[in-house]
């Protein structure tokens, strides 16, 4: 119980606190996108020929595609020639130890509450810190390596473990998958790579912290997680960006491969800058996240708390290929002011006795729009597949919108699929009850909404759950009415 209470020990203050800009010198590509830019990025990273080829194929394919229009969101058309596709903090000197890291970068992460110094870091979390296009520091690498765990920036992995990258890159999200996945495959800059060997239980949480700093840039990171047979890893992802009047594009790809009897738990607290009250500025968050349960009894679990971004388009999915594999999706998506979110999941059942759970809590305030979009697909081969979906929407005012688009495709008669959906408003009587106990309306809404999301927060590692609760309270400021 004291854990539960700890969550409220300090009530966060208002507004977007992560909106500062750090004065870090950066090395940028020229604006715009063409084959030369793709080559430029690849050359900057000293990449092998095969990877450049991969990028170019993706780029050529991307040129044949058009932006998806089916999400329930509206936003000004993105000018893909007006974006800087590569921006790297200029290293002052060659990075051999943390002492060599640009003090501004260190200060930036300190300000974000993320210490890159291992002895100060929470003992059980390893961090890969990414600013704009590059990873600046990965902590605890040596300690993890002792167990055979590889945790590094994507760029390093390309050089150190090319066989793994070659084998798995694009194996879950091919560049042909969708417009933004193709774009990402062409221009991705950095991200995290992680490999857990057979039978190893990763002794600490692995996390990547993404930070957009430079103006006019897009962030295109790529994350690849491979859990070999019987292994376990819990992975966390956090992100913030400065407040700017312009919209900035974030188009990431995350691929997870979970082999037989392996378990991957992936948690995100997405807190990109949402734009101001009138919808000016903010991040366009167009992300493809997908995992595949390759072997028997493997498991992938997505937990996401989405509070930021001006527009979110995101469907962390699981392909349940192995028999008896399990997919889970727990989501809290909060929209306020002018934010728009179209998010959900896809559970693709292929193996026998596969099961999936979807718990989605959408909370909308202000004039925002919040859509749940989910597909449960049961293939012919998936005997005795099971799915349980629960999609709840909570409205905080009467100018916001909540929408639910559940899609169900069942091709096997033995499937058992359950879907529940509710829409509710925060009750006046609940707020008054809190008021009568001395709690202001704003705090009451925070409390009630946090309670509403408890099922999802319970899935998060403790430290993250605390963050998420505070974030929620902040994002809901001024949401009622």
């Amino acid at each position: 119980m004291s854990d539960d209470l700890k969550l409220l020990d300090d009530v966060a203050n208002s507004e977007y606190k992560w909106g500062f800009v750090s004065n870090i010198e950066s090395d940028n590509a020229p604006k715009g996108l063409n084959e030369d830019i793709v080559r430029f990025i690849s050359a900057k990273k000293n990449e092998p020929e095969w990877l450049l080829e991969y990028r170019l194929k993706a780029f050529r394919h991307w040129q044949t595609m058009t932006e998806p229009v089916w999400p329930n969101v509206t936003y000004p058309k993105v000018d893909f020639q007006d974006i800087i596709y590569y921006s790297a903090p200029k290293p002052k000197v060659q990075l051999d130890s943390l002492d060599d890291l640009d003090p501004e970068i260190k200060a930036t992460f300190d300000k974000l509450g993320i210490s890159l110094e291992e002895q100060k870091r929470l003992a059980n979390v390893a961090v890969d810190a990414v600013i704009d296009s590059v990873s600046v520091k990965t902590t605890f690498r040596e300690a993890l390596l002792e167990k055979g765990i590889i945790f590094s920036s994507f760029s390093e992995a390309v050089h150190e473990h090319p066989e793994l990258i070659k084998k798995y890159l694009g194996s879950v999200v091919p560049y042909t998958d969708n417009f933004y996945a193709a774009l990402n495959a062409a221009v991705f800059s950095d991200g995290s790579f992680c490999y857990i060997p057979k039978g190893v239980r990763c002794p600490m949480e692995l996390s990547t912290y993404f930070r957009i700093n430079s103006a006019g840039t897009g962030q295109f990171e790529r994350t690849l997680i491979i859990a070999d047979e019987g292994s376990y890893v819990s992975y966390l992802e956090g992100c913030t960006a400065p407040m700017r009047d312009e919209n900035q594009l974030h188009a990431a790809v995350v691929e997870i491969v979970s082999h037989a009897e392996a378990q991957v738990k992936y948690s995100t607290v997405q807190n990109w800058y949402p734009g101001d009250k009138n919808g000016k500025g903010g991040i366009f968050n167009f992300v493809t996240k997908r995992g595949i349960c390759l072997g028997n009894k493997s498991k992938i679990s997505w937990t996401q708390v989405e509070t930021g971004s001006a527009v979110t388009w995101k469907y962390p999915s699981v392909i349940l290929k192995g028999d008896n594999s399990v997919g889970e999706f727990y989501s809290v998506a909060v929209t306020n002011n002018m934010q728009q979110a179209d998010t959900g999941t896809k559970m693709i059942h292929i193996g026998k006795n596969t099961s999936s759970t979807i718990i989605s809590k959408g909370i909308s305030g202000g004039r925002s729009h919040n859509s749940y979009r989910g597909l449960v697909k049961i293939n012919k081969s998936a005997d005795n597949a099971r799915n349980f979906s629960q999609c709840d929407s909570l409205l905080l005012g009467d100018q916001c919108g909540a929408h639910t688009f559940p899609y169900l495709e069942v091709s096997n008669k033995s499937a058992m699929v359950e879907h529940e959906a509710t829409t509710s408003k925060v009750g006046e009587d609940q707020i008054f009850y809190c008021n009568q106990r001395g709690i202001s309306t704003e705090d009451a809404v925070g409390l009630i909404v946090n309670g509403y999301c408890k099922e999802v927060f319970n899935q998060l590692p403790m430290e993250f759950a605390v963050e998420a609760q505070k974030l929620l309270a902040i994002s809901l400021e001024g949401s009622v009415g």
Partner: protein, 254 residues
């Protein structure tokens, strides 16, 4: 402490309180009785500041301040506590968490240090004894799935935690079994300290055997139409409300 003068209030255009006068001094216990629909809960809601109830006339002074000008949370912070006739459920928010937030809000408004979890738990454990509250109850979501009696006991527990200067109990006795009634009454009596005042709304004189009031009032058609001592409650138990209604209706029609 509390002075109500000629209070008029309506809900959904319907006038419920029709010029109510009432005074509570520090340390006093007032019982309010009256037939269903006479306006008892309305009075409680108006004092607590519920928005749907529109005050159309009169004034309410609380410790020298205009209560009607204050927001509901400021009234609570100033020491007005309402034990609800129908306590509200807040799913997913533990009782402990809820109360810690409330207690600290009240403390902040008084310029006191907020309590950390450890300090809070210590106080909570003491107060739990007062109403023989089970530990498991503090970890469950606020009122969710509580039985009727448990909800009422939880209200008294919250009152004990918040230590208000004026507590209004709206039918806290209804739905309680005999043991729970004794527990709740003991809880209230333990909080009687000569300064804290109570307004106890009830239909049953039985409660008043446990919580002995200084005054008993009858509310009818939005007014206090009769006041007396504990004996009045006994008389009502015996004779019902008809004789009072007749008296009042006769004067109203005169």
């Amino acid at each position: 402490m509390l002075t109500i003068k000629d209070l008029k209030a309506s809900v959904e255009e319907k006038q419920i309180l029709n010029g109510l006068n009432f005074e509570v001094k520090p340390g006093e216990v007032h019982a309010i009785m009256g037939p269903n629909g006479s306006g008892k809960s309305t009075l409680a809601s108006v004092l607590a500041g519920r928005e749907e109830y529109e005050v159309t006339g009169g004034e309410v002074m609380f410790n020298g301040e205009d209560l009607l000008e204050m927001s509901p949370e400021d009234r609570a912070r100033a020491g007005v506590f309402l034990a609800f006739q129908y306590p509200v459920e807040i799913p997913g928010v533990s009782n402990a968490n809820f109360l810690k937030t409330a207690v600290n809000e009240v403390r902040k408004s008084k310029g006191l240090e907020v309590l950390d979890s450890k300090q809070f738990l210590k106080i909570m454990q003491e107060k739990m004894k007062l109403v023989e509250m089970d530990k498991a109850m503090t970890q469950r979501s606020v009122n969710e799935g509580f039985s009727g009696g448990e909800k009422k006991r939880n209200e008294i527990f919250q009152m004990a935690m918040l230590e208000p200067s004026l507590a209004i109990l709206d039918e806290t006795d209804s739905g309680l079994d005999i043991d729970a009634l004794r527990i709740v009454a003991n809880g209230v009596n333990a909080l009687r300290d000569g300064k804290r005042s109570f307004i106890v709304i009830t239909h049953y004189q039985r409660l008043l055997d446990y919580i002995v009031p200084d005054f008993v009032h009858v509310l009818y058609k939005g007014r206090i139409v009769k006041s007396g001592t504990k004996d009045l409650a006994l008389e009502l138990e015996e004779k019902g409300y008809d004789w009072i209604k007749e008296e009042v209706d006769a004067t109203l029609n005169a």
